[in-house]
C-alpha cells in the first residue's frame, strides 16, 4: 500500500522523534523520495523543532533564582525546623 501525503503529515512529529516503527518509517522514506511537498514539510517542521529547542526562546526572568532562594530563606527561617 502506498501512503499518501496526508498520512505522512499525520506521522511527521513521531517520525522526527524516531517514534515510528520500521515498516512505517520505510513507507514514509519511500514517499519522501518522490514527494517534494512532504520533504519540504518535514524539513520545515524539523527546522521549527530545532529552532524552538535551541534558541532559549523562553528564559528565566533576570534574578528569578536569587529572588526564589531569598524568599525560601526567609520562609525557612520563619518556619523553624518543624514539618
Amino acid at each position: 500500500m502506498r501512503i499518501d501525503c496526508k498520512h505522512v503529515w499525520e506521522h511527521i512529529s513521531a517520525y522526527i522523534d524516531g517514534d515510528v516503527d520500521a515498516a512505517l518509517r520505510a513507507e514514509i522514506d519511500r514517499h519522501l523520495e518522490t514527494c517534494e511537498i512532504c520533504s519540504a514539510v518535514l524539513d520545515s517542521t524539523r527546522n521549527v523543532v530545532v529552532l524552538v529547542a535551541g534558541n532559549r526562546v523562553f528564559e528565566l526572568p533576570a534574578g528569578f533564582s536569587e529572588r526564589l532562594h531569598a524568599r525560601l530563606e526567609r520562609e525557612l527561617e520563619r518556619m523553624g525546623s518543624g514539618f
Partner: protein, 211 residues
C-alpha cells in the same frame, strides 16, 4: 548531575526532614526551570508564573514528608506546580478564555501544514537571534494552552514523554498527539515567516538533503 540522581535526592530529603533544611536549596535548584516553564505555559504571565513558582517551592518544602519516592522527585514537584497553576487559573477563569477547562477536541481543527518548497535551511544565521526568538516566542504563546504546555515541557525543557505525561496528568498518547498538533501549528505559523529569512540559495529544491 548529582542532584537529578534519585539516590542523591532521597538522601537529601532524608537529611532535610532530619533538620538540615538548608539542603532544600540544593534539592530544588535543578527543578526551578521546569517549575517556571510549566507555570508560564499555564498562566501566560511572567510575573504570575514567578509568584506561583515561589509558592510551589514553598509547598514542596512543606509537603516534603509526603514524597513517597514512587515517582521521580521532579515529576512530583511538577504536579504540585501544576496544581498551583490550575488553582490560579480557576480563580481568574473569567479573565481568561484560554482556560485549561476549555479543552479542545483533539481530533478537530485544521492541521494542514504550510506548503512551501524553498525553506530547507535552518535560518538562524540570517535572522537576528533576538528577532528569531521573538518570532518563536510569539508563535508558542499563540498556541492553545494544552498544546503550549506540551511544547514547553517536551521541546524546550526536553522532558521525555513519560515525565511530561505525569507532570500534566495526561496519557503518553495525549502528549504525542498534542505535540504533533502543536508542531503542525507552529510549522504553519512560522514556516512562511521564516521563509523570508532563508538563505538565498538556488537549487535546494530537489537536491539531496542530509538526514
Amino acid at each position: 548531575m548529582a542532584a537529578s540522581d534519585p539516590q542523591f535526592e532521597a538522601e537529601c530529603i532524608r537529611r532535610i526532614l532530619a533538620g538540615e533544611k538548608q539542603l532544600f536549596h540544593v534539592l530544588i535548584r535543578p527543578c526551578e526551570r521546569a517549575i517556571y516553564f510549566l507555570l508560564l505555559s499555564l498562566l501566560g504571565s511572567e510575573a504570575e508564573a514567578e509568584d506561583a513558582a515561589q509558592e510551589t517551592v514553598l509547598k514542596v518544602y512543606l509537603n516534603l514528608h509526603n514524597f513517597r519516592g514512587d515517582a521521580q522527585f521532579r515529576t512530583w514537584v511538577l504536579s504540585i506546580a501544576r496544581n498551583e497553576g490550575l488553582g490560579r487559573l480557576r480563580k481568574q477563569a473569567t479573565r481568561r478564555e484560554d482556560s485549561l477547562d476549555a479543552q479542545i477536541d483533539e481530533q478537530s481543527g485544521d492541521y494542514t501544514p504550510a506548503i512551501l518548497t524553498s525553506w530547507r535551511e535552518v535560518p538562524s544565521e540570517t535572522l537576528e537571534r533576538k528577532e528569531l526568538r521573538a518570532l518563536l516566542r510569539k508563535a508558542i504563546e499563540g498556541l492553545p494552552a494544552i498544546y503550549r504546555n506540551v511544547v514547553l515541557l517536551r521541546d524546550i525543557e526536553e522532558m521525555d514523554v513519560r515525565e511530561t505525561a505525569a507532570s500534566l496528568d495526561i496519557t503518553e498518547g495525549a502528549v504525542k498527539v498534542r505535540l504533533h498538533r502543536a508542531r503542525a501549528l507552529l510549522q504553519r505559523d512560522l514556516a512562511p515567516q521564516l521563509k523570508g529569512f532563508a538563505p538565498r540559495r538556488k537549487g535546494c529544491l530537489g537536491g539531496a538533503h542530509e538526514n
